[in-house]
């Protein structure tokens, strides 16, 4: 910006600027990552008490652990999504974001990418911890497991980012976000738990083709819809 009429950035450049801004703030404060990782750890400990390793071993870890993993991820992700827009509430930063000469859809894409990056970091810590606490071998199935978790995280982050913005505009917190997000994400969770169970049982992923296709379709649908309607949320 040199005083002359600088050309506004294009859609993807603008999205990258928003994502980089969020990740830079996170890099300096590490608030969201600390909060979500610690919360996830607490959840795992609570699940450990609630279900007991003997019960889990008796029922077969590949039947119980996918549910535990996705519950933990969902609850921690909700904490992260809420914080993502709390950043913009400080000193009315959202007004500046809304006034920026960029497509409002690009703001969504930027926020979504930043949330996705944070969720991937959370998962990088969470997956080994789940394996350690609940005695599952993930080393042998690491490839398919990572793919399954990643493809479901994409859609969860899209829906979470959209609803996180709604909840933030309403001045509410995690309780409303959970109430809105968890039912809406039902197809993602069903698919996620099902495919994760298959991955842990070392079933070839080709067997779950229809679930994976559904999830890729959902990922695309949620991102497209959010890009199209996001400006209704930013509007004053």
């Amino acid at each position: 910006m040199n005083g002359s009429l600088a050309r506004p950035p294009g859609f993807f450049a603008a999205a990258m600027i928003v994502a980089r801004k969020d990740l830079r703030i996170e890099g300096r404060t590490k608030e969201t990552l600390l909060a979500t990782v610690l919360f996830a750890l607490v959840e795992l400990v609570v699940f450990g008490f609630a279900f007991d390793l003997d019960t889990i071993r008796r029922m077969g870890p590949e039947k119980v652990v996918p549910g535990l993993l996705w519950l933990t991820l969902a609850f921690s992700a909700i904490v992260g999504f809420t914080r993502s827009f709390r950043l913009e509430r400080a000193r009315e930063a959202l007004i500046a974001v809304a006034l920026a000469p960029i497509d409002r859809g690009a703001v969504f894409v930027g926020k979504w990418m930043a949330n996705l990056a944070l969720l991937f970091m959370l998962e990088a810590v969470l997956l080994p911890l789940v394996a350690l606490f609940f005695d599952v071998n993930i080393v042998g199935v690491a490839g398919p497991l990572v793919l399954v978790v990643a493809v479901h995280t994409v859609g969860l982050a899209a829906l979470g980012t959209l609803f996180g913005a709604v909840v933030s505009r309403l001045g509410r917190g995690e309780a409303l976000l959970a109430t809105l997000l968890l039912p809406a994400a039902t197809p993602l969770f069903l698919s996620a738990v099902h495919c994760t169970a298959s991955a842990l049982a070392a079933t070839p992923l080709a067997v779950e083709r229809k679930w994976l296709l559904l999830t890729v379709g959902l990922d695309v649908l949620y991102v497209l819809v959010a890009v199209l309607i996001f400006d209704a949320i930013l509007e004053e």
């Binding site: 709604v166 909840v167 001045g171 809105l180 039912p183 197809p187 069903l190 698919s191 229809k210 209704a232």
Partner: protein, 230 residues
């Protein structure tokens, strides 16, 4: 416009009031009693039309939400408010009549089958939309938020149904493709009239709720003007 609305509402009211006793007669007097299930099967003539109307209200909600996001005209939002609220009432009735029938027919109050689960999730989605609207700081913000949530919820419902169906099945399919109609003639006419009555009742309630929303908007505008002129 107002005159047309009054005529329409009076016509809906008259048709609903006239046909409802006919439907009750067809259901309780004319239709033969089901051989295996007996009298409890009569709830079928209420449960099925109410469920159909519930899912009809999802399409109306989608139309209202998309219409509002596209045009920002208050009328579309009134349609979206009305279909969400009336839809939630009908959805609640489905969730009440379903278990009453499921207990004698299947032996359990509830199963995690596709239609039941989708209806329950739909109830949660509609309740979430109405809750979010109530939290909004202004009616316009409420309209925008409810439209965004409405679009996502309405698009989600068929996908949820498919996903739960893959996950597990069990609901009786009465009308399937390529199957002959298993209902006795008396049963079929009772169902058809009952379906018509519930669609009319839904339209009547939506029209009344839209009118109420329009009056609320006018009252708010008048209060605003009165406050300004002080």
């Amino acid at each position: 416009m107002q005159r047309l609305y009054d005529v329409l509402r009076a016509a809906l009211l008259a048709a609903t009031a006239a046909l409802m006793p006919v439907a009750l007669y067809l259901i309780f007097v004319n239709a033969p009693e089901e051989k295996v299930m007996g009298a409890v099967q009569k709830i079928f003539y209420f449960h099925v039309p109410i469920a159909a109307v519930t899912f009809l209200s999802v399409f109306v909600l989608l139309a209202g939400a998309v219409g509002y996001l596209w045009t920002r005209r208050a009328g579309w939002d009134h349609l979206s408010i009305a279909s969400a609220e009336v839809g939630l009432v009908f959805c609640t009735l489905v969730l009440i009549t379903g278990p009453i029938w499921a207990k004698p027919a299947w032996g359990v109050w509830w199963t995690w089958e596709a239609k039941l689960t989708t209806t329950l999730i739909l109830w949660l989605l509609l309740a979430g939309i109405l809750l979010s609207r109530a939290y909004a700081s202004s009616p316009e913000q409420g309209a925008r938020v409810a439209s965004v949530l409405g679009v996502v919820a309405a698009l989600d419902v068929p996908i949820i149904y498919k996903a739960v169906d893959w996950w597990r099945g069990q609901h009786p399919i009465v009308f399937g493709a390529g199957k002959t109609n298993p209902l006795a003639p008396g049963m079929m006419s009772a169902l058809k009239v009952s379906m018509l009555v519930f669609v009319l009742l839904y339209a009547l309630l939506v029209a009344a709720r839209m009118r109420l929303a329009a009056l609320e908007d006018r009252l708010a505008a008048l209060e605003d003007a009165a406050w300004r002129s002080q």
